[in-house]
């Protein structure tokens, strides 16, 4: 961590390590009458790799989408580096922030989707440099150089001029990862990024994410069914059910010795009967 001695002379100091990268405060999310999240409170420290687990429909995707501002917050607050993301409290009232303010915060967050969502009207390279050039204001040369580095690191240096739809699902997802990283996000959201892939391809994508986890200090919020991957990459696992955090622990504890009955039955259902299959795989 850099030590900041004189805040006035240091441009845009990164928040101190004690300020959480993500903070949910009394978060509520409703879809019509369906209350998906209620009074949800949790924090993710900077550099943390948190995996969310829980039964289908428990609200894991919704949490990631709220952080990415893809869903409207029904109540409560989300803070990124201590700064409000979409709403803040002013004179005891909950007010929505303007688009400009929201964008400043949003720029620090990246997301990789289950369905990749590459832009089909652009080449692979154009997909990656689009936001760095048009949002961050990088020069085309600068953005291209960085994009080529990233393509190299996801093992696709020769695909720069390819069209996204010419690539396999695994390759598309690797491009999508490169595209997210090109924005140098502080926070990366990964929502079941291997679920749409053929089983034999899952490994190549997870390998790249492991590498990113090992070589960067990006804060990650991960939803996955790949429990081995969750165990390898994350330092914290949160079990959700009914829109609440049922249990939270290190992966070692969570996967070998879960305390809560809901967690036990969920993991049993996901992993089959062998208690610590994960550790021995």
């Amino acid at each position: 961590m850099p030590t900041i001695t004189d805040p006035d002379t240091v441009p845009a100091p990164r928040p101190a390590a004690s300020v959480p990268a993500i903070k949910f405060e009394n978060v509520e999310k409703r879809f019509g009458d369906n209350v998906v999240l209620k009074d949800l409170n949790f924090e993710v420290a900077r550099g943390d790799r948190v995996t969310l687990i829980g039964p289908s429909g428990s609200g894991k995707t919704t949490i990631l989408r709220l952080v990415m501002t893809l869903e409207e917050l029904s109540g409560g607050y989300i803070y990124i580096d201590g700064e409000p993301l979409t709403h803040e409290e002013r004179d005891g009232k909950r007010v929505e922030l303007g688009e400009k303010a929201q964008k400043q915060i949003r720029k620090r967050i990246g997301m990789v989707f289950q369905q990749f969502n590459l832009f089909p009207n652009m080449s692979v390279l154009e997909n990656i440099i689009e936001a760095p050039v048009h949002v961050l204001g990088q020069s085309k040369e600068q953005a291209t150089a960085r994009a080529m580095e990233l393509l190299e690191s996801v093992g696709l240096p020769d695909k720069a001029d390819a069209h996204p739809l010419e690539l396999s699902g695994g390759q598309q997802q690797r491009v999508a990862i490169a595209r997210a990283l090109a924005m140098d996000p502080e926070i990366l959201l990964l929502d079941e990024v291997t679920s749409a892939l053929d089983p034999e391809i899952v490994g190549e994508v997870l390998g790249i994410l492991r590498h990113i986890a090992d070589t960067t200090d990006i804060t990650m919020l991960i939803v996955t069914h790949e429990m081995q991957f969750a165990r390898d990459v994350s330092n914290r696992v949160m079990m959700f059910d009914g829109g609440k955090v049922v249990e939270e622990a290190t992966p070692e504890v969570m996967f070998t010795n879960p305390q809560h009955e809901r967690t036990q039955s969920f993991l049993q259902a996901v992993l089959g009967n062998g208690e610590d299959q994960i550790g021995t795989r």
Binding site: K103, N117, P120, N121, E130, V135, D161, H163, L165
Partner: protein
Amino acid sequence: MEANFAALAEAAPRIWEGLGITLLLTLGGALLAIVIAVVLGLGARLNNVFLRGICRVFIEFFRGTSLVVQLFFFFFVLPQLGVDLPAMVCGILGLGLNYGAYCAEVVRGSINSVPTGQWEATTALSLSKAQRMRRIIFPQAWALMIPSLTNYLIHMLKGTAIVSFITLADLTFHTEQLRQDTNTFFAYGVSLVIYFVLAYILTLMMKGLEVQAKHKLGRGESLRDTLSLKAPDTAVAAEGGKG
């Protein structure tokens, strides 16, 4: 029969001129229509209730009133209000507004049918609303709109025939003249053939645009491949030239 063809040959220069008027109306109307369609189509999606309302009223008004009445209004009523527009301008205006309103719905619908994931990806990359539309959504929606726009373009071509009501001597006007020197069967037969050929050429051109737009989205071969029979090496040369 020979007399008919002699009359046709004699009328050919006038028919040629009429053809020019018809084409000018069609292309002018189409250009105006596409501009109006994009403006209203985008406007009908705005968050601002007021602006959105204006666009909706505009669309519904010009879709809901007849083209003939609109033309009459521009040509016969506006002069009484002190606005005297040439017949050609009235024609293009009427066609453009009428078909623009229809095409606005096509534009709006196509934009809405670009998959949600594309919109969400632009949010995840922090693109602004304008960048999102201009660089990501519209180019994809464009490929979706072309088939419907082609339909309306052909409709418009045929719709130009009513401008003889406002004194424009278009293709229909001159073939009507031809009828007096020949007979009904012959004159309308000629008319049918000419309109059909025009419509077919327009359809082919639009098909070309569609192939190109789809190819840009990674679906289907390039226009060059579609047109050329000795595809492979020329296609490679074209790709290489792009970079």
